[in-house]
Amino acid sequence: MKTARSSLRTLFVLALVLAARSALAAEGHGEGHHEEGIPFSMVFSGINFAILAGLLFYFLRKPAKDHFASRATLIRTRIQQAEELKSHAVQKYNEFESRLKSIDRETQDLIANLKHDGELEKRRLVEMAEKQSVQLRETQEKIIGQELRKAKEELKQEAINLASDMAEKLVRENMTPEDQNRVVGQYLDRMEKLA
């Protein structure tokens, strides 16, 4: 790169020297001769430009070519990457779209299933509750029946005890020595008959 710059500088200086010499020669030659046609300075400038353009083309062609080639490669690569990205994004988009569509369907299926399951569960719970209600009622009826029987028995027992106590009280109050003799006598008579 350094070498190219130094060569370019040398050529530039050389082109200036040559251009100056040509100009001086053209002026000298022109003092005596005022001829018609294209002026020399214009020709010189044209030559000078041509040389410069040629030099520039010569020396800058390869680096510029390389630069543009690499730049093109880079741009191509980026375009390719962008296309890949786009393609990938499209693919993803399609994928998500299809999934979204399927999600909608799945959601609907799920809702339908849940509704169905819910109905079944509701029915099951209702049946279970009814069954438990029946069992509970039966159990309560049994308990009530038992309690009722128990209360009746207790009442009967209480009535019997009361009757017995009253009978005992009556016997105590009304038992006379004659009654006692009669009871003992009857028992002894029974013993005698059994003997």
């Binding site: 019997i160 017995s164 038992m175 003799n181 009871v183 003992v184 006598g185 013993m191």
Partner: protein, 182 residues
């Protein structure tokens, strides 16, 4: 058990002496009087059972009451022997064991009769009925208990004849309960 075994040996010894002297019934009566006295007095029970009171004091007590209780010298000596061997509190048990053995020898049965009121003349009828049934002399021990309500209960050893109104009342009550349950 040990006390019962000891009392049984003493009762058997007394019975042996009574038989040899032909005084089984007499000694039984004497023992009955001693035990009755003891039974009626809690102080006397404590006095005889107390290990603090020396046997000499206990013997002096019996010597003092011997005449009143009409105790024979043999019976008094028997009690002394019991006291000397610290078995004064077994006197009651000795009596019951001797009584059972004596009753067997004398051919008699003790019958416990509980009635709401004294039996009076009916006691003799009961005695003759039981004598005919058991073919033995009957000794009736009466007890008046108003809880019987009316009638009487007769206990001959483990056998019980219940002719009380209390039992009749219980029977009627049981029948009502059975009918009520059914």
């Amino acid at each position: 058990v040990k006390s019962g075994s000891v009392a049984k040996r003493y009762a058997a010894a007394l019975l042996q002496v009574a038989k040899s002297e032909n005084k089984v019934s007499d000694y039984l009566s004497e023992l009955e009087r001693v035990v009755a006295m003891e039974r009626d007095s809690r102080e006397l029970q404590s006095f005889l059972a107390s290990p603090v009171v020396k046997s000499g004091a206990k013997k002096a007590f019996f010597k003092a009451v011997a005449e009143k209780l009409q105790l024979s010298p043999m019976m008094l000596n028997f009690i002394y022997v019991l006291l000397d061997h610290d078995h004064g509190d077994d006197l009651g048990l000795v009596y019951f064991l001797y009584r059972d053995m004596a009753d067997e020898i004398l051919g008699q049965i003790r019958v416990a009769v509980t009635s709401a009121a004294p039996l009076g003349a009916q006691e003799e009828k009961l005695k003759s009925l039981l004598a005919a049934r058991f073919k033995q002399k009957i000794l009736i021990v009466t007890k008046v208990d108003p809880e019987v309500l009316g009638g009487l209960t007769i206990q001959v050893k483990d056998l019980v004849f219940d002719g009380s109104l209390r039992r009749e009342l219980e029977r009627v009550k049981a029948a009502i309960v059975l009918k009520a349950v059914a």
